[in-house]
Symmetry: C2
Subunit: 382 residues, 2 copies
C-alpha cells in the first residue's frame, strides 16, 4: 500500500498521534510563561518514570550525548572504570570512558550473553574496587536485558558509582533508579518514551554529582544543566517542540501506569518469541521474560538476514533491524518498545513468515499469528 509504513525497529519507535500533534504546535519560547509549566511537569514525570527523587538532567541530543555526559563528568585521567559489555552499546561505554581519560577494564562477554553479577563482584575484588562501573540495561544489539539490580549491587558493594545505559529499557521494563542505587542513568526520548529522537536524559544521584570532575565540558556539564533546571530554565535553547511532545507521551505512559506498561512489554516479548518459535525459527535473544524490548531471531539456513530486512522494506514498507557488528547478516531484530500492541507483533510475524517462505526457508506456515495471540493473552504475573 503506497505510503503505508510500519516501524518495528528497536528505535526510533512509533510515536502516538497525540504526540505527533503536539510536535506540530506553534513554537513557544523556552523562557516564556507558556513553556515553564510544561517543562516543570515533564521533568517531574521523568523523575516518576525513572523512579528517582534526584534530578533528571535533560539534554538536547541523541542518547549518546547523555552517555558522553557521564564520561565527561565522572571520568578523568586515572579514573578506574570497569565496563561490563556484551554487545554494541556496552562497547560504546568503553570508548566513551577511554576518550575521557579513564583506565578502562573491559569485562567483555560474547554478544548475546547475559552478564553475571558474580563475575563483576569477583573482578571488583581482584582489582580492589573501581571508581565507576558502567552497565548496559537493555543491550539493543542482542535483545538481552541484563539483571541490573544484582549487578548494580555488586558495584555498590565495592564502593563504585554505577552508570547505566537504559536507552532502550527505561519505561519498558522494571527499573528503580533510587532503590537499586543507580548513580547515573541514561536514556533517550526515542524508545519506550514514545517521542521522536533528539532528547537525552541523565538521572544523577547526589553521590554522582559530588564526584563530578568540573570544567571538562561546556555543553554536557551536569552542574550547568542542573542549576538551570532548578530555576526551570535551560542552560541552552532546548528542543522545545520535542519537550512539549515528550510531556504528552509521558502523560500517556503514566496514565497507563508503569506496572501495566511493564506487563504489556513482557507479554509483547512472549508473543513475539512464541510466534517466531511456532514457525520454527531459532531465537538469538534469551527466551526469557526479561527480554521484553527486542527479540533477536536467527535467520534460517541459507537466508541472509539483511535480505529479510530489505524484502520487508521493499514489499511492505516495513522496517525491522539487521544484526549489528558480528551479528550482521545472521540475526534480524524486531523491536517492541513503547507504543506497541500485540497486533503489531502479529503483523510483523505474518510478514516475516511470508518473506521467509518466499526465500525457500524451511518454516512452518500459518501458526505464528495464533501462537503470538495465545501467548499475549495470559497475564504476565500469575
Amino acid at each position: 500500500m503506497a505510503g503505508r509504513r510500519y516501524l518495528f525497529t528497536p528505535g526510533p519507535t512509533p510515536v502516538p498521534p497525540q504526540v505527533l500533534a503536539a510536535l506540530a504546535e506553534p513554537v513557544i519560547h523556552h523562557r516564556g510563561a507558556d513553556f515553564r509549566p510544561v517543562y516543570e511537569r515533564c521533568l517531574a514525570r521523568l523523575r516518576e518514570v525513572c523512579r528517582t527523587d534526584s534530578d533528571v538532567l535533560l539534554f538536547t541530543g541523541s542518547g549518546t550525548a547523555a552517555m558522553e555526559s557521564v564520561g565527561v563528568n565522572l571520568c578523568a585521567e586515572g579514573t578506574r572504570a570497569i565496563v561490563v559489555s556484551a554487545g554494541n552499546f556496552g562497547q560504546r561505554w568503553e570508548q566513551i570512558a577511554a576518550v575521557h581519560g579513564a583506565e578502562v577494564e573491559a569485562m567483555r562477554y560474547e554478544w548475546g550473553e547475559s552478564p553475571r553479577p558474580d563475575d563483576l563482584a569477583a573482578r571488583l575484588a581482584e582489582l580492589g574496587g573501581a571508581d565507576v562501573v558502567f552497565l548496559t540495561h537493555s543491550e539493543t544489539s542482542t535483545g538481552v536485558v541484563a539483571d541490573l539490580q544484582p549487578l548494580a549491587a555488586a558495584a555498590k558493594e565495592a564502593g563504585a558509582l554505577v552508570a547505566v545505559d537504559a536507552v532502550s529499557s527505561l519505561g519498558a521494563v522494571p527499573l528503580e533508579t533510587d532503590a537499586w542505587g543507580l548513580d547515573a542513568l541514561v536514556s533517550g526520548s526515542q524508545k519506550a518514551l514514545m517521542t521522536p529522537p533528539g532528547l537525552a536524559l541523565c538521572a544523577v544521584s547526589p553521590q554522582a554529582l559530588a564526584a563530578r570532575k568540573p570544567g571538562r565540558s561546556f555543553y554536557l556539564d551536569w552542574e550547568r544543566t542542573q542549576k538551570a533546571q532548578a530555576k526551570l530554565d535551560a542552560a541552552f535553547t532546548p528542543a522545545t517542540s520535542l519537550i512539549v511532545a515528550l510531556d504528552v507521551a509521558l502523560g500517556l505512559l503514566l496514565d497507563e501506569g508503569l506496572e501495566a506498561v511493564f506487563e504489556r512489554h513482557v507479554r509483547l516479548g512472549r508473543a513475539c518469541r512464541a510466534g517466531a518459535k511456532a514457525m520454527g525459527l531459532e531465537l538469538f535473544s534469551p527466551d526469557d521474560d526479561r527480554s521484553a524490548v527486542v527479540t533477536a531471531i536467527r535467520s534460517p539456513d541459507g537466508v541472509e538476514s539483511g535480505a529479510v530486512v530489505s524484502a520487508l522494506r521493499e514489499r511492505f514498507g516495513m522496517t525491522i533491524a539487521d544484526g549489528q557488528g558480528p551479528l550482521k547478516g545472521k540475526v534480524f531484530r524486531i523491536g517492541h518498545i513503547g507504543w506497541f500492541d500485540v497486533f503489531d507483533i502479529t503483523t510483523v510475524l505474518a510478514a516475516v513468515e511470508l518473506v521467509l517462505a518466499e526465500f525457500g526457508a524451511d518454516i512452518e506456515r500459518g501458526t505464528a499469528v495464533t501462537a503470538a495471540l495465545e501467548a499475549f493473552e495470559h497475564a504476565a504475573v500469575a
Copy 2:
C-alpha cells in the same frame, strides 16, 4: 485573544505551518530508504545556505553543542586562541575555548560595539599570530552584526583558523563560508532556518579538519560525524523529525532565494528601526543595514525593560526579549529572523507603543506603524 501567541524573540523563531506539518509526520527510521533521500537533500541544502563545498556536519543538539564541537576539535592544551567578543555569545566562545585547554586571549569590546578588523590585525601582530580566531557574526544579545569578511581576512592573513558563531545570522544576512575563508561555521535550526530548536550544524573547511585534535570527544568528534555523513548515515540516532522539518524549511528558504531573503531582512530591520525612532525611542543596536536580525531598543526613562516584556506577554500573548547581562532591564530586543514579514513588525511596534504609553513613557503615538511600512517599501539595494 485566548491562546493566540506571537513570537518576536531572536530565537526560537516562528516556524511556518508547512514545517510544523512535516514535524507531525510519522517517525521514520534513520537508516531506512525513506530517510536517506531527505537527509541527502537536507545536507546539500545546508551546503547551499552556508555557501560552501565542504561538509556541513549536523549534530542533534542546541547551537552551543556545535560551538563546543569547535572547541573540542580545534583546542587543546597550548592552543593559542583569540576570542573577539562584544556580548553574551562572544563570551561563550571564551568559556568554551578555555574549557578545552586553549590559552585564550580575550579581545573584549563593550556590549553593543562593533569589532574592528584593524584591532584584530594589530592584536594578531602583537601576539605573533594565533591558532584559532573565534568570531561572532550576529551578536544576538546586542543586535550587532559584525563586518565578518574583513575580520576573517585579518585572521587568515595571520595564518589562524577562523571559527564563527553564525547561529542567528545564517540564512538571514550575507554569509560566504568558502569565499570568506571561514573554517568552522556554527549555526542552529531555530533562527533563520525556521525550524524548532534541536539541530546544530558546523561547516568545516579541509584546513579545520586537518587541524583537528583527535579523540577528545565521542559525541562531538568531527571525524566520526563526517565519516557517517559520507555514507548518508548518522553516527548516532539523529533527531529525524527535526531533519525532515529542516529540509522543508530549507526548501522554502531556497525557493525564495538567498539574496531575496537577505534583502527582506534588511528591509525588516529598517522597518523596525524606523518605527521605533518614529515613536521617539532610542536604538541600542546600530542604525545600520547590517543589523538586520535583531533590533535592540533602549527602554525609555523610568520604564524597566523587563516590565515591557512582561506586559506584552500578559496582555497580548506576545514574546519579545529583555536585555541580557549588563543590558538586562535597560533594553528590549525584537527579533525579526526567519519567517517574518513587515506586518509582524507593525504588530509588535503597535503593541510596544500601547504598552509604553500606558507606562506613561514620553513617546509619540500613531506614527510607528506608518513609518515601518514606509521604510519597508523601498528596495534595500538601489
